[in-house]
């Protein structure tokens, strides 16, 4: 048996997170409910530690190890870092919310950490095998997190829908992968790219495999017409879980898109571009139109998320390095904004009151001018109003689309984002021009208030100085 021990160094962040998760699992067993905060602190420490290790290992050249199943490249480093930060923020937002609803259990943070591990595996995948396994690890943890609120019927329903549709999507993905494997005889994404190039783009098996692959990815991203689970899951899950589900996993799904299509199937770019155009246009259109009809802010943010996915896809479908960088920039911007948006919902809620109706935001300006301003920033940014972060993200994506002469796609996107501005502005109108229905003062702790302020200011700051993040994304794509 000639077996060369693989280079374990690039995998150290994964090993670190796994080891810490197992340690926390054991430590959590011996904690009483009152000292549960130790679990929380250890989880946060894990994320910080993973960030440090990942940044320490970053290198400008791609390293493939573990018999070609794992790759560490600048894109992986950047996406993983954002995943850690987003998860850190999500856990912090979640803490008080969970406490107030007696959901403050070790399992939330453990499943969260395992989901993060899944995302890391997915982001660093260099083989269809690891793409699938990372996806499953992430999804399984998320299903369980959605169902964690056992006595809530809506949460159970949401979890069930999420699970069944997610399983369908995985099946589609696997079916597509099996076709590709059958046609090319390799699971390795780099090798797959080379062999597809050799086979020529007309091979029917490859195209069918690609279709199933894209269906699976679109399910996970929540792109129209595979978006049906998104509003129900976002609405039904406890807000803290919604916050987590809507943020970091999108980055992982973006990474999956990049790994499978850009790394694995560049030879079929013409085919997948058409499919992505369809998905992107439908998502932008349907997401923005349906969001207008929503009276629940979690559903509203869900539909807005669907439209954002459409924009994200536009960056990728361009098929140019600038386009990929724009897509990544959009994904990161979306994560920052959605964290803030759901963070506001958590801020407004208290025990027994979810603050998820739009009416609950009426007159927020009178109750707390500062947080009304933060919400204003977030809403404007999501609508794509300059000079906030969301504007630059949309601009970058549209530039990418225009650069490959798909002007009509850009026009459609602009038209529908103008339509979409309506519902964002309605929230702003509620906050500033309506009388409050609810006179309770906000009960959130100081750490949450501080973080939310920082989140809102980050959207503003990154909007005023857009260059640095975009440059980071561009350098990560290389």
């Amino acid at each position: 048996m000639n077996f060369e021990t693989p280079d374990f160094l690039p995998v150290v962040p994964e090993l670190f997170v796994l080891g810490m998760a197992c340690l926390i699992l054991v430590v959590d067993l011996f904690l009483s409910d009152r000292s549960r905060v130790v679990t929380y602190l250890m989880s946060q420490a894990t994320l910080v530690g993973a960030l440090v290790v990942t940044l320490g290992l970053s290198s400008p050249i791609a390293q493939v190890t573990m018999n070609g199943t794992f790759v560490l490249d600048p894109m992986a480093t950047l996406l993983k870092s954002v995943v850690y930060i987003a998860s850190f923020v999500a856990f912090l937002y979640a803490k008080d919310y969970l406490r107030a609803r007696s959901l403050f259990k070790g399992e939330f943070f453990l499943l969260g950490l395992f989901a993060v591990l899944g995302m890391m595996v997915l982001i660093s995948a260099h083989s269809m095998l690891t793409v699938y396994l990372g996806l499953e690890l992430m999804s399984l943890s998320l299903y369980a997190m959605v169902a964690l609120q056992r006595n809530s019927a809506t949460a159970s329903e949401a979890a069930m829908k999420y699970f069944i549709l997610g399983a369908m999507a995985s099946a589609m993905l696997l079916y597509g992968m099996s076709m590709l494997y059958g046609a090319t005889g390799t699971l390795d994404l780099g090798e797959l790219g080379a062999r597809v190039q050799g086979a020529g783009p007309s091979s029917l098996v490859l195209v069918f495999g690609l279709v199933f692959l894209i269906v699976g990815i679109a399910f996970k991203l929540g792109a129209v017409p595979f978006h049906m689970w998104v509003p129900d899951v976002y609405h039904g899950a406890p807000t803290a879980v919604t916050l987590f589900v809507s943020s970091a996993p999108k980055l992982a799904a973006f990474a999956m898109l990049m790994r499978l299509l850009v790394d694995g199937l560049p030879g079929l770019h013409g085919h997948w571009q058409d499919m992505l155009i369809l998905l992107a246009v439908l998502s932008v259109a349907l997401g923005n139109v349906l969001a207008i009809a929503q009276a629940n802010i979690k559903r509203l943010l869900a539909y807005s998320g669907i439209s954002h996915v459409g924009f994200l896809l536009m960056g990728v479908l361009a098929g140019t390095p600038e386009g990929y960088a724009a897509g990544m920039y959009y994904a990161i911007a979306y994560v920052i904004m959605t964290l803030g948006g759901f963070g506001m919902v958590i801020l407004m809620s208290r025990a027994g009151f979810e603050a998820d109706r739009l009416e609950d935001y009426k007159g927020l300006n009178e109750r707390s001018p500062w947080f009304a301003l933060m919400m204003l920033i977030l809403m404007f940014s999501m609508a794509g109003v300059p000079p906030f972060l969301g504007f630059w993200a949309k601009l970058a994506v549209l530039e990418a689309v225009v650069s490959i002469d798909l002007i009509w796609v850009a026009v459609v996107a602009v038209v529908f984002s103008v339509i979409g501005a309506f519902y964002y502005l309605r929230v702003v109108k509620y906050m500033y021009f309506d009388k409050p229905e609810d006179e309770h003062s906000l009960v959130a702790g100081s750490d949450l208030r501080f973080l939310l302020s920082a989140n809102g200011l980050a959207v503003l700051g990154l909007g005023i100085f857009p260059g640095s993040l975009l440059a980071l994304c561009a350098s990560a794509i290389g």
Binding site: M1, L25, T69, K105, E107, L111, F114, S141, G182, L204
Partner: protein, 200 residues
């Protein structure tokens, strides 16, 4: 016809028949049992391909454990099949179209054109090798990273199952074997020395 072919067609016929019965039979317990038969004939087919480990693992895991628990649940639930069948006619059209499309895709793609013998020739048998041993060597060397991730997925499944189902109900009583074992004679029996009553 060679012996192997006879065996192949026999197992295949049983497989197709039982798979059909699984979805058409009215009694859910019968359906589950036919599914067991399905797994069994699949295992037979795999044995023909000399994938002995896969075949035996299929029987061991699916037939021996998963389907037993499945039957357990089906038997206890007493599912009302009439309710499940409601709306069958309504969805028939859509379902039929999807099914036909899928079959068409399979016929076009998975057929002989792409996966026929001239494309993927039968591998040369490499003499007496233990399938299980080679599989083990591969899993723990080249594929150790995916293998470990798969095990983490199972760990998450355990955590999730426990998190979603374990609860202490205040109204049911528990035994604590530790405390039962700790019991000493002194906790249960008290010797009192009493003076005997005076005879009157």
């Amino acid at each position: 016809m060679a012996f192997e072919q006879i065996v192949f067609y026999a197992f295949s016929a049983v497989l197709v028949f039982s798979a059909g019965v699984v979805i058409t039979v009215r009694n859910p317990v019968h359906a589950a049992l036919f599914l067991v038969l399905c797994f069994f004939s699949t295992a037979g087919l795999w044995l023909l391909l000399r994938a002995e480990f896969l075949a035996i693992a299929l029987v061991l895991v699916y037939v021996g454990a998963v389907m037993v628990l499945f039957l357990f649940v089906v038997m206890m639930l007493d599912i009302n099949i009439a309710v499940v069948r409601q709306g069958f006619a309504r969805y028939l059209a859509v379902g039929g179209v999807v099914a036909i499309l899928l079959i068409a895709v399979m016929a076009m793609v998975v057929g002989g054109d792409y996966f026929g013998l001239e494309r993927t020739p039968v591998p040369e048998p490499i003499g007496e090798v233990s399938n299980t041993r080679l599989l083990g060597l591969q899993l723990y060397t080249d594929y150790v990273y995916p293998f470990e991730i798969a095990s983490v997925i199972l760990l998450v499944a355990i955590i999730a199952a426990i998190a979603l189902t374990l609860r202490r109900r205040p109204d049911s009583r528990y035994q604590e074997p530790g405390r039962q074992v700790e019991v000493r004679r002194g906790d249960r029996v008290r010797l009192v020395s009493m003076k005997s009553e005076e005879r009157r």
